[in-house]
Amino acid sequence: MRRNIFVLAALVTALALMIAAGIINFVHRRRAEEAKLRGMKMALVPDNAAAGDTPDAAAMEAAASDDDIATPLNGKTAPGFTLADLNGNKVSLASYKGRPLVVDFWATWCAPCKVEIPWFEKLHDQYASQGLEILGVSTDDLDQDDPAKLFTEKRDIADFVAKMHMNYPVLLGEDAVEDKWGIDAMPTTFFIDRSGKIVASTVGLAPREMIDADIRKAIGSGAS
C-alpha cells in the first residue's frame, strides 16, 4: 500500500511538471507567434496609407528582430544558390558578392508582386550608379517531367517578364532553394549588402518607401 502511494505521488509530481513545462513552452511559442504576426502586420501596411501610418524601417526591423522569428534570415549570410535564367544560363548568387543586391521571390499568379515589380524597375535605375543589382526569382511551378508543359510554363514566365518590362535578371526558382530561403508567401524580398549579409527582408507587399529604405541600407552596409 505504501509503495503504491509512493508511485502515485511520483506520477502526480511528474504529471504536474509535464503540464507546467507544456504551459511554459506554449506561452513562449505563443509570444513568438505574436511577434511574427506583428512583424508581418507592419510589413503589410497598404501603400496608400496615410504618411503617419507608414511604419519606418527602424520599427519594422525592431518588430522583425523580436525573437528572430519574423525574418529568420535577417542578419545572416544569404544562402547560396545557382539557378537558371530564362535563357538557360546558370546564375550564381556568389557572383554578386561585392555589390548591394535585392533578391525578390515572386510568381506570375501573385497580384501583389505585380504592384511591386514596377517599383523595383525604377529603383534599379535609380540606384544603378551605386552598384545596385536586382534578381527576380520566379516561384512558378515547373513540370520537369513533361517537356511540352515545361516549355509552355517557361514561355508564360517569359511573356510575363516582357509584359512587365522587367529590366533585371529573372531566375527560375527551385524547391530546394525556396526551402533554404524559407519562402512560403509571395512576394518575399531580401536586401543583401556587399558582404553578402541579409540586412532586411519583407514578406508581402511592403510600402515603396520601406523598400527604398531597405535598398539604401543594403547599399550603405557591408562596404569593405
Binding site: M18, M40, P46, D47, N48, W109, C110, T139, D184, A185
Partner: protein, 164 residues
C-alpha cells in the same frame, strides 16, 4: 494498482494534448502545408441508386483571405478547381462553380479580380450505383490576403457516397 494505471493513462493523454497545443499558426502539420480553406460538409451522402443526383459541397475560406474563382479574369491567375477521382460505381457528370465576387487589392484598386471568400458551395452532379463508395476529390486553390499570396494548395475532399 488500478489507480496507478489510470493515472499513467491520464498523464499520457494530457501529455499528448499538451504536445498538440504547441502547433503554431504557420507551422506545417507534417502532412503538407497548412490549409487556408476548409472542407465543411457533407462527409457522407445517401443517394437513390442509379439515378442522377446533385450534392452541394460546402467550403470555407479562412477569414481575411480570398481565393481565385473558377473563372479568374487574368490568364496568369490560378483558378479554383475540383479534381475528382471517380470510384467504380460513381459517375460524375459535372461540377458547377459559383460566380466569383469582385475584389481589388488595396494597392491596385483599378484591377478587379474574381474571387471566393467566406463560405462557397460547389454543386456536383453524379450518379451512384448501389453500394458504398468514396469520392476522393481535391480542391485546388490559390489564396491571398490583402498584401500577400500563398502557393497553390490541394485540399482533400473525401465524401462517402451511399447508393441505395
Amino acid at each position: 494498482m488500478k489507480t496507478v494505471t489510470a493515472v499513467v493513462a491520464f498523464a499520457m493523454f494530457l501529455g499528448a494534448g499538451t504536445a498538440g497545443a504547441q502547433k503554431l499558426l504557420w507551422q506545417t502539420s507534417g502532412q503538407g502545408p497548412q490549409q487556408l480553406v476548409r472542407f465543411l460538409y457533407p462527409q457522407q451522402v445517401t443517394l437513390p441508386a442509379g439515378k442522377p443526383a446533385t450534392i452541394e459541397i460546402h467550403f470555407l475560406v479562412n477569414e481575411g483571405l480570398h481565393i481565385n474563382s473558377h473563372e479568374p479574369r487574368q490568364k496568369s491567375l490560378i483558378r479554383t478547381e475540383l479534381i475528382e477521382a471517380e470510384p467504380v460505381g460513381v459517375t460524375i457528370a459535372a461540377v458547377d462553380f459559383p460566380p466569383g465576387t469582385d475584389y481589388a487589392f488595396p494597392a491596385d484598386p483599378s484591377e478587379k479580380l474574381s474571387v471566393y471568400s467566406g463560405e462557397f458551395v460547389l454543386k456536383m452532379h453524379l450518379t451512384a450505383q448501389r453500394g458504398n463508395h468514396q469520392v476522393a476529390g481535391e480542391l485546388r486553390y490559390q489564396a491571398c490576403d490583402a498584401h500577400t499570396c500563398f502557393p497553390p494548395r490541394n485540399l482533400p475532399v473525401p465524401i462517402d457516397v451511399i447508393g441505395q
